[in-house]
Symmetry: C2
Subunit: 437 residues, 2 copies
């Protein structure tokens, strides 16, 4: 005979000031800045998962860069990265930040496509270092920069590497450590986190309720007043929707456009003696590790993970990889082993026959219109997202923009002191230049 204690997960309805839906970097950063600026307000973050950043944040590649052609877009990244640096170097909070640099290996078609954007960034003062093919070969002995005589590579249409463009003020950060740090900072200022609560829907109500069945009517002014979750209703003066690739699931039913499409990104992790020399590439940074490196063809990039001495390989799939929202996306191994692999081993034969030791998939929320994140207010709510794979490296700036929306401020100051106009990043008065890099 056995006794089972039945635990009732109580459903409770709660009234608060600000409800933030989503404990990814954008939700946590938003909540932190809201609470910091408004200590008297009750700020609650809810998430369907069991901890901070467990959605797509922790599944991201965790790169940061200042390589953007749009000045305002660059500012979002630069100010956030400066805050990362302050956090890690001044305050001693480890977030795995390593300035490895980014290295774009370019040649053929890709070089032509990128040239105008590179020139624009150079003119704006972005620090770029150029390495010719000879130098690249010397610095990265494993690299094959040209395929003359390799009929297969030519048949595959692989671009040769003519030049390596290094973004110096770029690198990697540990997304998981960052999310945990943000959670900790939020708790320190008095924010509340509630996990394992999935939002079923946002609650839309007339601003002046009549108490008649059928509300809201088309002639009523409506506003979001909170969210209905798997564990009760949360009523809030302001609701922040920071659910990344899942935003359409909450906003489409309202008839509010999240201006993004979700796209899967698989990451494959490698740790093998054959790759040790490549990982320990010297000459690009202080740490003597391979920079975050983009190959000219196939959208393949390689990220060094200094915490484990591993290399991560991923592919930015453009046309051909569907936009599709998944609740729990899984890595498709064949995207590596029967696809990207063939191109990767041409450029870096050291990957030959090396199998990934780990893999996972996340989802990017892509704004195809101007490629720049959105912080847009609606009645009773603020939507932050469409970060186009750049949510981590822009999280501090975006959190400040959300907080400014909550406070009704016209301008906000980013970390480092730059002032930006809040409505520039909204929809109705949007004023940003389309990002072309």
């Amino acid at each position: 005979m056995s006794f089972t204690r039945k635990v009732n997960v109580m459903e409770m309805d709660i009234d608060i000031d600000v409800l933030v839906v989503g404990a990814g970097v954008l939700g946590l950063s938003s909540a932190y800045h809201i609470k910091r600026q408004n200590p008297e307000k009750e700020v609650v973050v809810i998430d369907k998962l069991g901890g901070p950043g467990q959605g797509n944040t922790a599944k991201s590649a965790g790169g940061y860069r200042n390589l953007f052609t749009s000045g305002k877009n660059r500012l979002l990244a630069e100010s956030t990265v400066a805050w990362f640096r302050h956090l890690q170097e001044d305050l001693g909070r480890k977030i795995g930040m390593t300035q490895t640099g980014y290295l774009y290996l370019l040649g053929g078609k890709q070089l032509g496509k990128r040239e105008a954007a590179l020139e624009k960034m150079r003119d704006s003062g972005v620090e770029l270092r150029y390495h010719d093919a000879e130098e690249l070969k010397r610095l990265i002995p494993d690299l094959v920069p040209d395929f003359s005589g390799d009929e297969e590579a030519e048949m595959m249409g692989l671009d040769p590497i003519e030049v390596g463009v290094q973004g110096v003020s770029c690198g990697v950060v540990d997304a998981d450590a960052l999310a945990r740090r943000l959670e900790f900072e939020l708790i320190k200022v008095g924010g509340i986190l509630m996990y394992n609560r999935r939002v079923k829907s946002l609650i839309l109500k007339p601003r002046e309720e009549l108490g008649i069945p059928g509300e809201p009517f088309v002639w009523q002014d409506v506003a979001v007043v909170g969210a209905d979750t798997t564990r009760g209703e949360f009523k809030a003066e302001t609701t922040v929707v920071a659910t990344g690739a899942w935003s359409a699931g909450l906003l489409d039913p309202l008839g509010f456009d999240s201006i993004m499409r979700p796209k899967k990104r698989c990451i494959f992790v490698f740790k093998d003696p054959k790759l040790e020399r490549l990982y320990k590439t010297d000459g690009f940074n202080e740490q003597g590790v391979l920079p975050f490196t983009q190959l000219p063809s196939a959208g393949i990039y390689i990220k060094p993970d200094p915490s484990e001495g591993s290399l991560w390989v991923s592919v930015t799939e453009d046309l051909g990889r569907e936009y599709l929202l998944e609740d729990d996306p899984q890595a498709n191994e064949h995207v590596y082993s029967e696809n990207a692999y063939y191109a990767l081993v041409k450029y870096l034969p050291c990957f030959k026959d090396v199998r990934p030791v780990n893999m996972w998939a996340g989802q990017r929320a892509i704004n195809n219109f101007d490629k720049i994140p959105i912080v847009a207010p609606g009645p009773g709510f603020i939507y932050v997202g469409a970060a186009t794979g750049n949510g981590i490296m822009k999280c501090d700036a975006l959190g400040r923009l959300v907080a400014a929306q909550v406070s009704g401020e016209e301008y906000t100051e980013l970390y480092g002191g730059s002032r930006v106009k809040v409505s520039d990043f909204g929809l109705e008065e949007r004023n940003v230049e389309r990002e072309t890099f």
Copy 2:
């Protein structure tokens, strides 16, 4: 004993020059202009339904207007409307075009919201006539412009009518007649129409096929080479995707963003002796009919249908009506009878107890980013859409833009002689001002 003759619908694979998917106004107009400019090319339009415009074209309200704040957006409409006029008046092709005018009844909140846009249009030379509440009451005896003393209306938060702004060069067109006319013109120039063929998917292939299983690989350049339909494959040099609200169904699997969300619009048709006086409103136009009229609250508008002497009522539902794609959307009668009706009868008590004689629903494809249609090329294809409920009134201009994309022209001439830059309406070099009216 009975014999049934089994008809085999033959599956056939066809090679053509240009495949246009969708026989709505945008598809037909695109095909017409492509074929007219390239008589040597084989241009085929396919559609899942059995005739022209049977998707959302025929379900639209069929209004046309030149009331837009964005100069380029206005040009799309003005040139198309000039072509409508040429078609009906010079060539004698009846498309039910009647210059009824548009009448925006404004007051309270709505007036404030609209003022800047109205001023901008006036400054751009758009012909507007202003009518004060007294004059409106005289011209439209059925209209109740203010609710002082009506507690219910005040409780409902209905805005009073302070002013009527009439767009003179606006009116209505018979969407169904227009689609049939476009089909006829297309056939005359040698275009081919094939109905009852549903596109299952667009076919994406590497530009240089290797004949290896698994193609296309991430390192290959890919292009759309046609469509797989319920009745065989169509291979085409260029595929035009003109499937309106359904575009995401074809483009999301490719990973190409249609930059629009589909929203249902229900139309309710009224023909009743009680409404005769309203229909025959004199003083706004030559025909002596009510203009296409927008009420200040609830997004309700009323369209006169001169072909049947009826009034159509619809509601532009903003926040609260979900974005949702339906294959065959049906009208929700309660949107009228248990919702909009309560506001409508306050402004126009003549609707009291009058039931609709007909109703249907269509879907608008809304571009929430800048509210302006998109004509964007991708490899092997051109996407035209996101017309935000304005597809009909911009169809000729959009068809010309598509044809210019097919021909690789940098500029195109719209009907009436205006030249526009083709890439201004694309995505990568988009250069249009967000529409605010």
